[in-house]
């Protein structure tokens, strides 16, 4: 940390620090492509992917902030930001349109000397040091926009203060046999972190990092600057910042969170997390009046179930018109399900049309899709989820194989231009 003072004057302009101080600023990393979601994230960043009937993945982190009394946050975008930018807008749906603070969308930008993409999670925060400094915070909370969970960050900040920590990392206790998929924290009996193992082959602890961090800002700031000056660094929190802090002996603690938490980075986990909402055993309670999950509402009429409708064990959102059979499925807003069609064990995203006589099982059908009449999804196994990408048109009578992944372009290639 020799050069900290020099770099300090180099990259941080003198800012007035009066009047707008915030104890805590949250930074939400929402730039990831989510390439494992394939067609679903071809045109939008992962946090913008629809979830749970009327939400998008990012609603959980945004609502958690609001419900935790954090009213100042930056959302770092990079990959396909249009959908996300317009979705967040001025932050009104989450009560984040504030005079002091509020939500800011922070894309990469050009400066006088240089301009570049966010190279890693730490670099993304580094590039926005000036944004954070405006509020002169004590603490910075780093969040990722691709997890489904309800968490009171204020309790974690209390824990951070109580422990006198420089960094606090939220951990979830996972089955030890799965621990090798995660970044694992080894702690002493006071929850102080003694070692960090990134995807260890033989894990010595089951405390998996959730990607939720609380840092004491002046300390993090120094580490960000130091990390930026290290050409060998990949500028990542997990790979660089956390190990560096640990090596220097800064007090770091693990905050255990054992309620529902799910990373929805893959098609299977996204499908499962949606299905969790239908399960009576699910611990993710969306009906909690004290912990609303807010979203930008489409403002459509109530859904209509016709005389031919048969709906059970499902969630149905406003604007739907259902005349078919819907079982164990989630229908987002504005979907039409025509007569004699059947939807089972599936997630259907907004404004999609399902023609009559079609059969859909074990699938995620994205928004604005048109499924013709008598289309059959084989859908024989929950381990092979079929995905139809946004805007795809599947012509009448098509047969869709198990586990098929069909984007709008694939559909044209496979079935030709329809209409």
């Amino acid at each position: 940390m020799n050069d900290v003072n020099d770099t300090n004057t180099l990259c941080v302009p003198a800012l007035r620090k009066t009047g707008r101080k915030k104890e805590t600023v949250a930074m939400l990393l929402a730039g990831g492509q989510g390439s494992r979601l394939g067609a679903l994230t071809e045109k939008m960043a992962k946090p913008a992917v629809p979830f749970g009937g009327k939400y998008r993945i990012i609603d959980f982190a945004l609502s958690n902030c609001t419900n935790s009394n954090i009213d100042t946050l930056g959302v770092l975008t990079q990959y396909q930001p249009l959908e996300l930018n317009s979705y967040i807008g001025n932050g009104h749906p989450w009560d984040l349109d504030r005079i002091n603070g509020g939500v800011y969308v922070l894309p990469p930008y050009m400066s006088a000397k240089a301009g570049e993409w966010y190279r890693g999670t730490a670099n993304a925060i580094y590039q926005n040091i000036s944004f954070i400094e405006q509020f002169n915070p004590e603490y910075v909370v780093i969040l990722s926009g691709d997890h489904i969970y309800k968490m009171d960050y204020s309790l974690m900040i209390d824990f951070h203060k109580e422990k006198g920590a420089d960094a606090t990392i939220a951990v979830q206790q996972v089955p030890i046999e799965e621990a090798s998929r995660f970044g694992i924290m080894v702690t002493d009996e006071n929850q102080r972190i003694t070692a960090f193992e990134e995807k260890p082959p033989v894990p010595t602890s089951n405390k998996a990092s959730m990607g939720v961090y609380v840092f004491t800002w002046p300390i993090l700031r120094n580490y960000l600057i130091q990390d930026e000056n290290d050409p060998g660094s990949s500028n990542d929190f997990g790979k660089n910042i956390i190990p560096a802090m640990l090596a220097c002996g800064n007090p770091m603690y693990a905050y255990t969170f054992n309620d529902y938490w799910k990373d929805v980075g893959t098609i299977e986990s996204l499908w499962e997390a949606n299905m969790d909402l239908l399960s009576s055993e699910s611990t993710l309670n969306l009906y909690d009046a004290n912990w609303h999950i807010y979203s930008r509402n489409p403002g459509m009429p109530p859904h209509y179930a016709s005389r031919d409708a048969n709906i059970s064990e499902s969630m149905v959102t406003e604007g739907c018109e259902v005349s078919g059979t819907v079982t164990n499925s989630i229908l987002f807003a504005g979907i039409r399900v025509d007569r004699n069609s059947t939807i089972k064990n599936s997630v259907i995203m907004p404004n999609t049309i399902i023609g009559s006589g079609s059969f859909i099982n074990y699938a995620i059908v994205a928004e604005d899709v048109t499924i013709g009449c008598d289309v059959k999804f084989k859908g024989s196994s929950s381990s092979l989820i079929t995905v139809i990408g946004p805007g795809a048109v599947i012509p009448d009578g098509s047969v869709i194989e198990d586990g098929a992944r069909i984007s709008a372009d694939d559909a044209i290639r496979l079935f030709g231009e329809v209409r």
């Binding site: 109530p302 209509y304 179930a305 499902s314 149905v316």
Partner: protein, 375 residues
């Protein structure tokens, strides 16, 4: 429509909606699952490009205020113009008192009207007809005909149910001039029913209201229009698209049920533009293994475990296992416990029907249960 502002008198006591208007004005009556009556009026104005709207409240306006707040949901929260909620005090130098009639209500908000930069007013003297429109045609008609006042009316071919005692009918000559207006039914044979919407220039409006108040008048139709019918050019503008009167309980019930028809629903909720309403961030509706639902509208936040037919469920209604609903309107957050049977019933907000209870009304006289009751 840059030169037009809207003024809505949100209700008086003369409604025949029994318990539904006991605790709220007609403008605040819930309808079609997630809306309030006033949503239609605000949305029609906004969809016409009108961005200055004054809403004159009446006695029990808590419910209405709660709903419209700053007008954000209708895009009426603006720096310039926007939504103005106007308290129902008439202008008396010695102490405030509620207005007695619509002309008095207008007189009471003269400072708002004078301050409006727009010169033409779309005046709503009541909120008892539901329709989805924009006012461009009305404006064009008003300008072309050179009318002092244009009265909007509809003419249902068959009056399928008796209107309210206070509905206003028009007598119109062959040239489209309004020659007379009558309050009360069956006085005349006319099926031309005023929709309580008038277009009039601001300065003329204030002049006429002044003159009427000075002579002890209080009601806009009686003391402003009818009193001046020989002096003013009053034109009738016929509205041809579907409209539903909700000023009697029977009318309200029929209008509500009309929303179950996909075409009528589309016309009323999307026709000339969307109907905006307050957002409540409810979870999507949830159905259990045993739920049966047919020809019904179900709103976000509902949990359906029983059987629902020809009914409308508002936000957050719970229908427990074994409960049976037929031809019912169940308002926000009501709870129907297991094996209860309801037919032709309107439940106001937050009612609880205990296990196994049986409530049956008839189509032309639905049973109404007032807000918060437990049966």
């Amino acid at each position: 429509m840059k030169d037009v502002f809207g003024l809505i008198i949100s209700g008086s006591e003369e409604q025949e909606l029994r318990d539904l208007t006991m605790i709220r004005s007609i403008a605040a009556v819930p309808i079609a699952g997630r809306y309030r009556v006033i949503d239609f009026f605000l949305s029609n104005l906004v969809n016409s490009g009108i961005h200055n709207v004054g809403v004159i409240t009446y006695q029990n306006y808590h419910s209405l205020m709660d709903h419209i707040m700053g007008g954000v949901e209708w895009d009426l929260s603006r720096k310039r113009d926007g939504l103005f909620i106007l308290p129902p005090m008439s202008q008396h130098t010695s102490g405030a008192k509620y207005y007695d009639g619509t002309a008095e209500a207008i007189n009471g908000v003269r400072s708002y009207i004078n301050r409006c930069s727009q010169n033409t007013c779309i005046l709503h003297t009541n909120c008892r007809t539901l329709f989805n429109t924009t006012y461009m045609d009305l404006k064009a008609f008003h300008n072309e005909s050179g009318a002092d006042i244009t009265v909007m009316y509809h003419e249902p071919e068959v009056l399928s149910y008796p209107g309210s005692k206070s509905e206003i009918r028009l007598e119109v000559d062959d040239d489209g001039n309004v020659t007379d207006m009558f309050t009360g039914k069956s006085l005349m044979n006319s099926h031309k029913i005023a929709m309580d919407i008038y277009m009039i220039d601001k300065s003329l409006l204030m002049q006429l209201v002044d003159a009427s108040i000075m002579r002890g008048g209080s009601d806009f139709v009686r003391d402003v229009i009818i009193a001046n019918k020989n002096r003013l050019r009053i034109k009738a503008f016929r509205y041809d698209k579907p409209s539903y009167k909700i000023d009697t309980l029977e009318g309200y019930f029929k209008a509500s049920m009309a929303f179950l028809d996909p075409e009528i629903r589309r016309e009323l909720l999307e026709g000339s533009g969307p109907i905006y309403t307050k957002v409540k961030d409810e979870v999507p509706a949830r159905y259990s293994r045993d739920s049966v639902v047919s020809n019904s509208l179900v709103t976000d936040g509902c949990v359906v475990e029983g059987s629902v037919e020809n009914s409308i469920l508002f936000r957050g209604v719970q229908v427990a296992k074994g409960a049976v609903l037929k031809n019912c309107i169940i308002m926000q957050e009501s709870l129907i416990q297991s094996n209860a049977v309801l037919e032709n019933v309107i439940l106001d907000k937050k009612c609880t029907i205990l296990r196994g209870r049986r409530l049956v009304g008839t189509q032309n006289y639905p049973m109404v249960v007032s807000k918060g009751s437990t049966i």
